[in-house]
Amino acid sequence: MSFFLINSSIGRKLVMSISGMFLILFLTFHMCMNLVAIISPEGYNTVCEFLGANWYALVGTAILAGGFIIHILFGLLLSIENRRARGNDRYAVTARPKTVEWASQNMLALGIVILALLGLHLYHFWAKMQFVELQAMAGVEVDSNLLANATNGYGLIEQTFSSPVVVALYLVMLCALWFHISHGFWSSLQSMGLSNSVWLKRIQVISMVYATLLVAGFAVVVIFFFVKSIL
């Protein structure tokens, strides 16, 4: 029974859709926590402490990383198979029908953009927070300055988003994320079979609205701290 998740096309799509939905759920929590930084610096640092190098936060991080890895591996596998299924000779002329979203045909490219900038994001925050705490716990020599700043997420945000280049890169990532999710959200429901003639239009609209709210929530924080830094 369990093999169908790997052996059948629809099974592989189920893995893709569940992992994608899981990532969207994570991003929703992440976005809400970021908004706290605008409202209250102390509140934000309390959240950071809570999600530092504690066992539950570490388990959460491991599950999250697992979700990403599964999503990326299956995404690559599906994309390779799909390219093969197209055959050896490519069409000389192609056209995209009006009803076909651009994002839906470029999920892999969008995913790779997200992944590259996700690396930058982990370097900016995770490597300076949870990772530093972990190193300290494991008995590795760490700079005392770094360790002191590891729970000061608020300071790190202020510092990171004072650079226009970093801000621009984050906005590119958010754009890619918007395209990926504006298609991914409804696609995922469709892959699970949760759609019919009434709901198809509805989930497509919900997908757009949800992607827009999610990405706007992230973008507001980035822009807020950039503006704050130049004022």
Binding site: D89, A92, T99, L200
Partner: protein
């Protein structure tokens, strides 16, 4: 009314499945806008025969949009850019004088080219043989009102059954996926009481055959439904996913 136009055609020529294909350019003069697209190709072929050249092989049969044989990829669209028509229902009045028209065969790993614009679509037949039928013994013919089916469901099954198996869905799909075809064929039976008995086995067997034949995985781009000459809806694909996943989870 009758007008005539001059056009240039870029047509894919390929000797057989193994030989490498290439494009060849043909200029056609004085084509009546009353001609159908396939008649235009007939005129070109007559011209080629007169010049002792090999005519262009292309599939066609009914020429009235019901058999699903005609299969040309015209200027980037299967069956041309007009919605809900087959190639045989496309007319030269849709073209302008001086147009350049590129004609390619369906390109999909599971639909190998036989010659020129003709491809082998027996993959769809094989999927049908894997389960696209009802094998229960239905006995004598029951009265028409013995099995009541609500009108909306009967309509939906009829819409799914309008698929003519032309292959445009897999040809249009960036992933070479046959999901629209398979889902239409699963739906037309799964929606009706006579087809429900074997619904689970049908979904599993047809999907297994589809995967085996080398069709791609659906990423819900929707190009299939946009190009389908019969307007078969994407909701069929959701139904197939549901049927398949429920069947597998029950195992």
């Amino acid at each position: 009314m009758a007008k005539s136009i001059n056009i240039t055609l870029n047509i894919w020529r390929q000797k057989d499945a193994k030989t490498k294909g290439h494009f060849e350019t043909y200029a056609l003069k004085d084509i009546s806008t009353n001609a159908s697209f396939l008649e235009m190709l007939d005129i070109l072929n007559e011209q080629l025969v007169k010049e002792h050249k090999e005519p262009i092989a292309f599939d066609h049969d009914c020429r009235e949009g019901i058999c699903g044989m005609c299969s040309l990829y015209i200027n980037g669209h299967p069956h041309g850019w007009e919605t809900e028509i087959t190639t045989c229902q496309l007319h030269m009045r849709k073209f302008k004088d001086g147009d350049v028209i590129t004609i390619e065969p369906w390109r999909s790993r599971a639909f190998p080219v036989i010659r020129d614009l003709m491809v082998d679509r027996s993959a769809y037949d094989k999927i049908m043989q894997a389960g696209g039928f009802v094998s229960v013994n239905t006995g004598g013919v029951p009265d028409a009102n013995a099995i009541a089916i609500p009108k909306p469901i009967a309509d939906e099954a009829m819409d799914s059954a309008s698929c003519i198996g032309c292959g445009a869905c897999a040809a249009a799909c960036k992933n070479g996926s046959a999901m629209l075809f398979v889902s239409a064929k699963v739906s037309q039976l799964a929606l009706l009481p006579q087809g429900k008995a074997e619904a689970a086995a049908r979904a599993k067997n047809m999907v297994a055959k589809m995967d085996e034949l080398g069709f791609g995985n659906c990423t819900n781009t929707g190009a299939c439904a946009a190009e389908c000459p019969k307007g078969v809806s994407l909701t069929n694909i959701a139904r197939l996913n549901r049927e398949f996943l429920c069947a597998k989870l029950k195992d």
